[in-house]
Symmetry: none
Subunit: 418 residues, 2 copies
């Protein structure tokens, strides 16, 4: 099994300005290929320390993947140091220069002189085009050791790795690892884990529980000589988990609940509208994150103020006075209002107190009402109390409110709304 | 200045199952204390590799902070290996055993035999109590080198570090580092860097350029004996940069452009409304991310479909037919419609093709029109072409569109709209 080390280059990581998500992404993808990551190292934009770190890595690893430090500024030195380390000369790579020039042209900008150094690439290396930025990546090899260089920004690194580095690395991949994520909503991690307790100790496939922001998932991972074989090992365990967790599962290998909702809406030929108070557009944003959502989602009202609730959604002014904006009747009227304004088949609404400040009443931060109304006459309102307040609660409460609204739509579409 | 290395121990990090947020947290806190983190290393739960990594770290650092691997299971070996490395004997620490027993009792559980090894601690070390879990941390010292061991779970590591490790490390904290971020919008990283080229080589304060998703920032970092002194060193350079970059700067030490916009709206006592097509609620979401935004933002319309543009915002049906949804007149009418529906002082709109699919016309993915209308009669429409298409373009285009819309509001509020 080939041994790989990930070297993240960037003083901003050492200062804690950014979380090193590149290392995580690369680790996941390399594991899928059966390439073993035994070390991750982060070093600053410092030539001497980078040289030493390369020396250590090349002793203990077959493959080094360096990310970051390919930019146009003088402190971007990864390529220069790596090439020097492997005794490779850098020359002008005309294709890269051309595509950089057209990149800037496409933006109506003139390329600066600084950027040209990004087109200097190792003479006998492999170039990885950058489809999402200016800095090309590359790979060099010496005495059976390989260094791959990738840009730091995740939106450049990820597609470059998948499209160009994976084919380059395929020579090292013998075993195949296949993972399937069974995603649930509405069940806590520990309850979920208890229901599948006896499966958590199996080795191949392995079953591991994960939780984040109100969701819980089980990852089933199988290793075999090829993908079909691995899938065959995983499938019986996936079937068993599916039968035990039932309606809590919103999808297998779905990236998130909004994608599951958009898919189900398409399948049923139904449209959705949103009326958002405390989530302020987050539900709409998450639905429209999904490419192709325009066929099922056409209208959202962000009714952050009472005036918008009254004037655009037709919420009763008296109910607002008597029950307050964060209340069952207001949530229901918001959903019904969105249904009417939009002409959609289903509308979902959220009104709540995201915090950290209260809304001036004695209602607690973390309280919300989520409602679904549909053309078939369905109107339900659910009360949610996240229990989160204090620092960081705002993002959490908004996210969990939006997820619960999406889950309400999912349950309605699955005929599981109680 | 004391040099520190963070060693994260855990196979789950190398597999990419979790993002290493501990390393980020520790880096931020150490930087605040003037302790320099020059390396972050991640290694699996493997005694031999951990020993080697400790060997390398102790050569190049004064302080090693190891996180993870203090749990009760047989593969949790951090403490054993670190103590062996420094020739320290572990003995039963009665206080820790007592507090572990009462931790389990408090949860109505019986402590397992496994947990007892967590109370074995170095005889002449300093023990860090764990107020949020079972594994105590500790620190050992030999020949002026220090190893601190902390549990991996962030909710245990963070309070332990702040409450017990910071006092331990205070002996190394003499200098104070102060950073200020000068945030710009509308200028590329390389053009920005060129304008301040001569400042990028200065040492104290240092000036470093960073770019992400359409934004560029300059970080000015100064080191001194105390905060006032450091600020005094940084200020003249900040002033110089401010005068060179002028209106491109949307704020100094602002976390993001939406926070700057909300602040400026509050200062001027003006309200904002939004009309979003391709961004689908993202602008509203970003504004309402800011706590307290309800005083300046009350209404947003997500007009993803033509019907919503016509029925809710009053966009002319003929203009939609003739020019298409992604066009200058439609953007302008969306902003004017939002102004009318909301009663706000300013409205901003976006209509564009986020991709990856085109909208069925010959307009390119990445094209958008962004408009601002205000009660004072202002109506402007800006055309934007991000040049991004293909994988990953959707998120990028939506983010950059939303940022440009927010920037348009910012420029209007600064009286810099051209």
């Amino acid at each position: 099994m080939a041994i790989c080390e990930i070297i993240s280059v960037g003083t901003e990581i050492l200062l804690g300005d950014i979380v090193n998500t590149d290392a995580q992404f690369l680790s996941v993808e390399l594991a899928k290929m059966g390439i073993s990551v035994l070390h991750q190292t982060t070093v600053g934009d410092n030539p001497e320390r980078l040289r030493k770190v390369l020396g250590i890595a090349s002793e203990r690893s077959d493959i080094i993947i360096a990310s970051g430090g390919l930019g146009p500024t003088p402190d971007d030195l990864t390529k220069e140091i790596c090439c020097e380390f492997f005794n490779k000369e850098c020359v002008l790579h005309q294709d890269s220069l051309n595509s950089m020039e057209s990149y800037f042209k496409g933006k109506g900008l003139v390329m600066s002189e600084n950027n040209k150094k990004q087109a200097l690439l190792p003479a006998d290396g492999v170039v990885f085009p950058n489809d999402n930025g200016t800095a090309p990546g590359c790979a060099i090899e010496k005495d059976g050791k390989h260094i791959l260089m990738l840009p730091g920004p995740p939106r450049e690194l990820k597609p470059m790795f998948l499209n160009y580095a994976v084919p380059y690395l395929s020579r090292f991949s013998d075993k195949v690892i296949v993972s399937h994520n069974i995603r649930t909503f509405g069940i806590g991690e520990s309850v979920m884990a208890q229901k599948v307790d006896d499966l958590l100790n199996s080795a191949n496939p392995s079953v591991a529980p994960y939780a984040k922001e109100g969701e819980a998932l089980l990852r089933v991972t199988a290793m075999a000589d090829n993908k079909q074989e691995a899938d065959k090992i995983a499938q019986p365990v996936i079937d068993e988990i599916t039968s035990r967790l039932g309606e809590f599962i919103y999808g297998i290998d779905e990236p998130n609940i909004e994608t599951a909702v958009v898919k189900k809406l398409k399948e049923k030929g139904l449209t959705l509208a949103t009326a958002e108070s405390c989530t302020g557009g987050l539900i709409g944003k998450r639905i429209t994150d999904v490419s192709g959502s325009s066929s099922v989602y056409g209208c959202g009202i962000i009714s952050y103020s009472n005036e918008t609730k009254i004037n655009v959604l037709g919420v009763d002014e008296n109910d607002l006075k008597i029950h307050g904006a964060v209340s069952e009747p207001v949530a229901g009227q918001m959903a019904l209002g969105a249904l009417k304004v939009s002409g959609a088949d289903i509308a979902v609404s959220v009104t709540g107190i995201a915090g950290p400040e209260s809304d001036g009443t004695d209602k607690p931060v973390g309280l919300s009402f989520i409602s679904l109304a549909a053309k078939d006459g369905t109107v339900v309102v659910k009360k949610l109390l996240t229990g989160k307040n204090g620092p960081g609660c705002r993002d959490y409460n908004r996210l969990v409110n939006a997820s619960n609204a999406l889950n309400l739509v999912r349950l309605y579409l699955d005929n599981n709304l109680q």
